[in-house]
């Protein structure tokens, strides 16, 4: 197992190197002069232009610039935002908890509902209810989530008036950030109604962000369950007279979960992509909205740093899933694959 982990880490290094090169090239691939782009429409005098080129180091050889950038990464230096002048890393981690909280909630929503729906459909295979569940899953899978968010806002915020339209908590409440997670901070603050407010802000974004993973997980669970339910050991378990509940819940589910866990892991990338749309619709102050804003403000160091950090997060999650997969599926571990 130890060598397996080492091997997986080894595979990650070239990818990480490539990702840094990709992020580094980003600003250099922009058509035109980066300094002129940063200056925007105000324009620059030639002297100031040369000064800025020198200040940002754009006049040095490319490999030297890359080396500087690469070394900077390990010292936690991803450059400074052009708009706020703050370090990119600082900005990223100030906003990250909001995205993290939303993603966790969306994932809990998607896995609990998705796995139950998948199991239900597998048990009721071929019946009307199976078709209904799978039909709904396919609709969810085909959903343009930015539109889905707008629909939910029309219904729950507009017509019914149950949930707020945007933000993480009502402006009425103010308390210091302790963990960065609004649900926890609101409880810690001890203010009455703060938790309810935070929760009601979270519900719609959670549903929107969780919809596609939910559909994918439900479909995957169903097909994995169907495969396992046809196995001999399940028939043996049934023949031994074990209750159907135990057969499905213990014998079948454990083995069916192996491909499902991989699917769940793969959804993290989807989730971070979906966060861009979800956060934009609900004005959720997380990294997805920050990335979109940075792209629109032409704040290239932020985009560059954000791309790199998000890619690293996806890579780390994928690695964790791979290791987890090896842990629950001994076949993989022993072949060393």
């Amino acid at each position: 197992m130890f060598f397996y982990i080492i091997r997986r880490f080894g595979l990650l290094i070239p990818t990480f190197l490539g990702v840094t090169i990709a992020a580094f090239s980003f600003i250099r691939l922009l058509p035109g002069d980066p300094v002129l782009l940063m200056a925007g429409e105000r324009g620059l005098t030639p002297e100031r232009h040369a000064e800025l080129l020198h200040q940002f180091g754009f006049d040095r050889p490319l490999w030297e610039q890359f080396l500087d950038y690469f070394m900077g990464i390990f010292q936690g230096d991803l450059g400074h935002s052009l708009v706020t002048k703050k370090p990119v890393l600082e900005e990223f981690f100030a906003l990250f908890p909001a995205t993290f909280e939303l993603s966790i909630c969306a994932m809990i929503f998607a896995t609990t509902l998705g796995i139950s729906a998948g199991i239900y459909a597998a048990i009721r295979r071929g019946t009307w209810s199976d078709q209904a569940v799978m039909g709904t899953a396919l609709i969810g899978y085909s959903m343009p989530i930015f539109w889905w968010g707008l629909l939910l806002i029309i219904l729950f915020s507009g017509i019914l008036g149950w949930t707020p339209v945007s933000g993480r908590i009502s402006l009425f409440y103010f308390f210091p950030q302790v963990t960065g997670f609004m649900l926890i901070d609101s409880v810690l603050s001890g203010q009455k109604g703060a938790f309810t407010s935070a929760l009601s802000h979270l519900i719609l974004p959670t549903i929107v962000l969780g919809t596609i993973p939910l559909a994918v997980i439900a479909r995957q669970t169903r097909s994995a369950m169907l495969e396992v339910l046809g196995e001999d050991y399940v028939r043996t378990a049934r023949a031994k007279g074990i209750s159907p509940f135990r057969v499905v819940g213990v014998h079948a589910l454990r083995n069916a979960m192996i491909p499902v866990i991989t699917t769940i892991g793969l959804q993290v990338g989807v989730l971070l992509g979906g966060a861009i749309l979800t956060e934009t619709i609900f004005s959720w102050p997380g990294i997805g909205k920050w990335m979109v804003d940075s792209i629109f403000r032409r704040d290239y160091p932020s985009v560059q740093g954000g791309l790199l950090l998000i890619a690293v997060i996806v890579m780390v999650v994928n690695l964790t899933v791979d290791l987890l997969y090896g842990l629950i599926n001994p076949k993989i571990r022993h072949t060393g694959g």
Partner: protein, 312 residues
């Protein structure tokens, strides 16, 4: 497939006693495919709806009651015909600057299908070429290519597409290029995996021994036997391409107004979300139904083309 049936016929002694009634050839394969495909009612429904959308897109100029950018200043935000104040002139109402929703939706079908076609063709051709090459050559070249694909896949697709469009400049063409770039690693991986498993088979060795050159070996001998997963992936990425292009349009990084692209229409309609439900709801319904039809078709294709899943 045909090689296998020939082999089984000659080895099975009971077969030689009676006439073999199995048909071979293109037509028979198509018939077999259609038999499996049409078993899936959802897939057939999806196919019909897809054909319907294609027809609408092709004949948009004749079907649409009004021009796609024609403005009626006396009917701003007119509701659909079945609501109070609706006019028969505008079946699905008008938007904030008095353009007929129905006409714009009809013309929008063109853009979405166009995006799907271009993105899939680009990603498919480039992906297959790289995948074949990578799997065929092997060694260090293969490793480098596959690591490069890993790098593209490390970024969330939509985010990478968004950043690429920011580099290239926001427009529908650039959005298509960006989405194609983001999607092609999937084709590369699929093609390469298929080539790896086919490369060592006897028929390839036989072809190689008889002096078939590399290019012919790649494209004529091996590729046709790797097509099934690629076709399924193509259907999948057709719908993803439409969704991503609409998402980019919605974020203002895809087709630019006044293009009646469905995602762009949604972005324009956002501010009327609580006042005029039809300008927000209808473009989304159009996207959802189109993508749903393609996904239904894709499921049917997968079931019909994948023998492993066929009888499960």
């Amino acid at each position: 497939m045909s090689e296998q049936s020939v082999a089984s016929r000659s080895t099975d002694p009971s077969d030689s006693l009676q006439t073999d009634t199995r048909k071979t050839g293109r037509l028979a394969m198509l018939q077999e495919f259609w038999r499996y495909f049409s078993e899936n009612r959802g897939a057939v429904l999806g196919l019909w709806f897809f054909v319907f959308i294609c027809l609408i897109a092709i004949f948009a100029d004749f079907i649409a009651p009004h021009g796609e950018t024609e403005q009626f200043r006396d009917a701003l935000l007119a509701p659909p015909v079945w609501q109070d104040g609706g006019q028969w002139k505008f079946l699905l109402g008008t938007d904030a600057v008095g353009r007929d929703m129905l006409s714009r939706l009809i013309h929008g079908a063109r853009y979405s299908l166009f995006v799907g076609c271009i993105v899939v063709s680009l990603a498919l051709v480039v992906g297959i070429a790289i995948g074949l090459f990578s799997g065929f050559v092997g060694g260090i070249t293969d490793t480098i290519i596959m690591r490069a694909m890993d790098i593209i896949l490390a970024f969330p697709a939509l985010l990478l597409a968004l950043a690429l469009v920011a580099i290239l400049g926001p427009s529908l063409t650039n959005a298509m290029i960006a989405i194609a770039i983001v999607q092609q690693p999937h084709y590369v991986r699929l093609t390469r995996a298929a080539v790896m498993s086919e490369r060592t088979k006897d028929y390839v060795t036989a072809a190689r021994v008889s002096g078939v050159r590399a290019l012919r070996l790649m494209f004529i001998t091996i590729l046709p036997n790797c097509l099934a997963p690629l076709i399924v992936q193509a259907a999948l990425s057709f719908s993803t391409a439409i969704l991503d292009a609409a998402a980019l349009g919605f974020l203002g990084m895809g087709a630019q107004p006044p293009t009646p692209e469905w995602g762009t229409m949604l972005a324009e309609a956002r501010e009327f979300i609580l006042r005029a439900w039809w300008v927000v709801t209808l473009p989304g319904v159009a996207i959802l139904l189109t993508v749903l039809a393609i996904n239904l078709m894709g499921d049917g294709l997968r079931d019909a083309l994948d023998p492993k899943l066929r009888r499960s």
